[in-house]
Symmetry: C2
């Protein structure tokens, strides 16, 4: 039907190239070779140097036999190596699996096994943990690179090669391997999910490319932003910002951990223009001694994700020179893929009125096709009345390929041609999505997702437990913490200390409940535990709905 | 090889959608329904209204039987209808062929025939011309829509339906047809080319989408720009700016023709932030009586294309409040696909020094893979020495599908996996491309490409002409005008007036030479006319090289 517009008008190397974020680095290294790419402590690289270093590392990986479809894991804070891996790994056709620094050895072992990691890059702070994890693995052990850091004193090596040695020995003229198909995988990121075992979210070059550009539009980055890395790069590949900063030829200001005094110093010293983070990051800054008060000549633009920011955070951030934009998403949509786009006129509102608008989850990212609220039974959008509840769903090119080796979960996630977030929400009268509750019962603590089901699974293993339920309790520091409700077996006894100790033995610290309430659990007539009653008891219902 | 990263991780409607600029309109109409999309004279539309109007028109076209792969032509100035056709036509799967308003009836008839236009939309100023063109056609005649314009007094209808009638009768709930494949054609644009018959450049949804976004990055548009339509939308679809302004939810300020007083009035009245045009547009503004002098509170950002802007234009534009960015491209790469990206520090240079840098053709557009200078024999890039000449070539997703029904020309254009521009250039020491000459001998007059070969073909038909050559002569108003050198047959006689009159009979006015020089033509030993000698004689060599 489209003849003659297709006859003889095929794709060829001149007019078609698979979309890949590798193009951003190649172009920026050519156009802006002498501009700064990365600053970390006393180290500073230009875009030409970063490109050179990535090519060297890629050549070293190739020589090791790492290639198309292999998994390369990284247990690294926000140091230059972590930034470089976002380019060097796809340059050999491999897939980058960034590991969550807060996990325990068992969880890490699961991910390294499940993802068949062929290589892992390790920061000295986590070398003991990775060493332990590899002993727990059941599959082949990965090749380990140590990534020394002068800023971390107790350097301990567990690998075969140090990162800078690989860079030095690599070939700077290595020709990056571009994907044959833009649908090829670029990253693997494990999400806590709703059941015990985490799910491996697979993203691709096309989506990473489009989301990286979408970030520029959503955050109004302009050219040459100075981006402070308060967001962990292990979170959804730093929401694609390593690639976003490449397309805008900006500066990556790296830091190992969020220390408020250090953050304020870096903002002032390097003229930071943009940053991202969970509410806990901004809370820490707002409440830090020595936080600047109304002295900022120009606002730092901050993206905030992970939970709807309360008015106090929005206003507090502005008082220390940071203007926040609320973004929303999850690992399955490359991090945020919705945001509360500001409308002209909002700036004229009072902070309170504005906060009521800006804490909504909002509208699709510029290059995302849709986010909306759908009745999962009829698959029809709910009316724009701010009241009718449905499930928040995404559709478009900024949605994962699926879950690794998990066809059932992939099929369920994409049922009806939409990605199901598991979050319950409404559509406001102006079309903005608002989340009312989380059907998956995730607790978001310090920006980390904790599956309440996973914690409950541990509790249920305790011999004295009959029923257990975990809900989010609002917390001034962490946003939320997991809180346990336990109904003991008849005649069984256990103390709160027993229970908490048991959890800490079987879970990473951040996932362990911070308190336990004993007593009969409220249940429906069919025996299902009524979590909403428990949320009311800990006051969390207020925190996660408007 | 990429298993398990492909197993069960296929594309589906949730995670993949063909890229199309139609997404921009749908999203912006949803997110910013009440913001102004278009202003023209006393008319003003919102994005919701524009979306509604486009869907109505698309439904009307569908009812007429217009669908996938059909060609819809438009002979329209920059009025709202022209803007809307950029969405309504692709909404039915059809291909938009914008006609150059400066063409004569014979050229228009050729394009309508060659493109098999099924429909044509006509402005009353051009109704006589289109009526004549359709009588000259050899193929089936198109269905004609009149597009009335209250701002054009002598309204004359030649069609079956008036545009607003179609809008009124159309269905605002029409479901736009998205392309099944992002490689599907979206537009057909004829270029003057190097031989007599123009070539039909076919572009696709994917390229239009990516170039529209690339414009945002290259021009640093931000959200909600106010874009003044000084660039004809018939030129490479207004370089994709109808789609660019949609993705940024900006305002299209339309106008029938570039009248300096009107332009200054619109800039002030609507707070114009961005505009585009050929040097002739900016020249007209700079030299207009009543041009504002140093009164602009904020610069209008202007893109300038069509020829390297002289220092006088760059400085002159700044004196009237317009800051220029030089862009470079051609119809085959969707308009500009290279630009002279400003480096930090350039703003501190003197206007003269800066102009020497900014008049270069520059670097690839943000989402274009490459523009470089290549030795066409070896297909290797020339050294970055500012001296070694090669052919300027593009590669990437912002390159046409090819030429309609012209496999030979398509093959030649893409030889060796690069798009050959036919322009000769060098690479400067900093990697910026500079055009030195045009191997295709195009004269760019008032922003229009004129093939010197086409004009020579006419001259050669004159019975008194032995040899003829046409070169570009610098012109203060038009940038360049075609100038003829003629060697008469022995004993033949002809005057300049004869020759010019003959050309005007066989060519549109703007293509006819503006002067004729008689005498023996300089030739190589093999008899090839040495155009560079002729260019020196008219002084054009200076104008088109640095």
């Amino acid at each position: 039907m489209l003849e003659p517009y297709n006859a003889g008008l095929d794709k060829n190397p001149a007019n078609f190239q698979p979309l890949t974020p590798l193009s951003f680095l190649a172009r920026t290294a050519t156009v802006y070779p002498h501009l700064t790419s990365t600053i970390y402590e006393d180290r500073r690289f230009t875009w030409a140097e970063t490109y050179d270093r990535c090519r060297r590392l890629a050549s070293y990986l190739t020589a090791l036999g790492v290639g198309g479809g292999d998994t390369v894991a990284a247990m690294l804070p926000n140091v230059p190596a972590m930034h470089e891996l976002h380019f060097a790994v796809p340059m050999v056709g491999a897939v980058l699996n960034t590991l969550n620094l807060r996990l325990d050895a068992a969880s890490l072992a699961f991910q390294l096994d499940h993802g068949s990691a062929k290589v892992v890059f390790v920061d000295p702070e986590f070398s003991d943990l990775i060493a332990e994890a590899t002993t727990l693995m059941t599959g082949p052990k990965p090749f380990i690179f140590d990534v020394d850091d002068a800023a971390f004193k107790d350097s301990k090596r567990i690998g075969k090669v140090e990162y800078e040695t690989a860079i030095t020995q690599g070939d700077s003229q290595f020709l990056p391997r571009y994907p044959e198909d833009e649908w090829d995988a670029i990253a693997l990121s494990y999400t806590s999910g709703t059941t015990g075992d985490p799910k491996g979210v697979v993203t691709c070059h096309r989506g990473a490319y489009l989301n990286a550009v979408s970030n520029v539009l959503a955050a109004n980055l302009g050219m040459h932003p100075v981006y402070l890395w308060t967001l962990p790069m292990f979170h959804c590949n730093g929401w694609c910002f390593p690639w976003t900063i490449a397309v805008t030829a900006g500066i990556n200001v790296c830091l190992r951990k969020v220390d408020p005094a250090r953050v304020f110093d870096l903002i002032a010293r390097h003229g930071v223009t943009h940053m991202s983070g969970a509410p806990i990051v901004y809370n820490a800054l707002i409440n830090a001694p020595g936080a600047p008060r109304g002295t900022a000549a120009k606002f730092v633009q901050g993206l905030i994700a992970g939970a709807a920011p309360p008015v106090a955070v929005l206003a507090g951030a502005e008082s220390i020179g940071i203007k926040l934009t609320h973004v929303y998403g999850l690992t399955e949509v490359y991090g945020p893929a919705a945001f509360c786009a500001a409308q002209p006129g909002w700036d004229d509102l009072s902070t309170d009125d504005r906060a009521q608008l800006t804490r909504r989850q909002g509208v699709p990212y510029p290059l995302q096709e849709a986010v909306t609220v759908i009745d999962p039974d009829t698959m029809q959008p709910v009316p724009r009345d701010g009241e009718t509840t449905g499930e928040v769903m995404f559709r478009g090119n900024i949605v994962m390929k699926g879950y690794l080796k998990n066809a059932d979960a992939t099929r369920a996630a994409f049922a009806g041609g939409w990605f199901h977030t598991g979050d319950l929400g409404v559509i406001d009268k102006d079309g903005y999505v608002i989340i009312k509750d989380r059907s998956k019962d995730i607790v978001i603590s310090g920006g980390e997702n904790i599956s309440s089901v996973e914690v409950e699974d541990v509790l249920y293993k305790h011999p004295a437990v009959l029923f257990a339920a975990v809900v989010a309790k609002p917390d001034p520091k962490w946003g939320e913490v997991p809180w346990a409700f336990v109904e003991l077996k008849p005649n069984a006894t256990a103390t709160e200390a027993d229970m908490l100790g048991y959890c800490r033995e079987h879970l990473p610290g951040f996932k362990s409940p911070k308190g336990v309430v004993f007593g009969e659990l409220p249940k429906t007539s069919t025996g299902k535990i009524q979590k909403f009653v428990l949320r009311d008891r800990v006051g969390s219902a207020k925190a996660i709905s408007t």
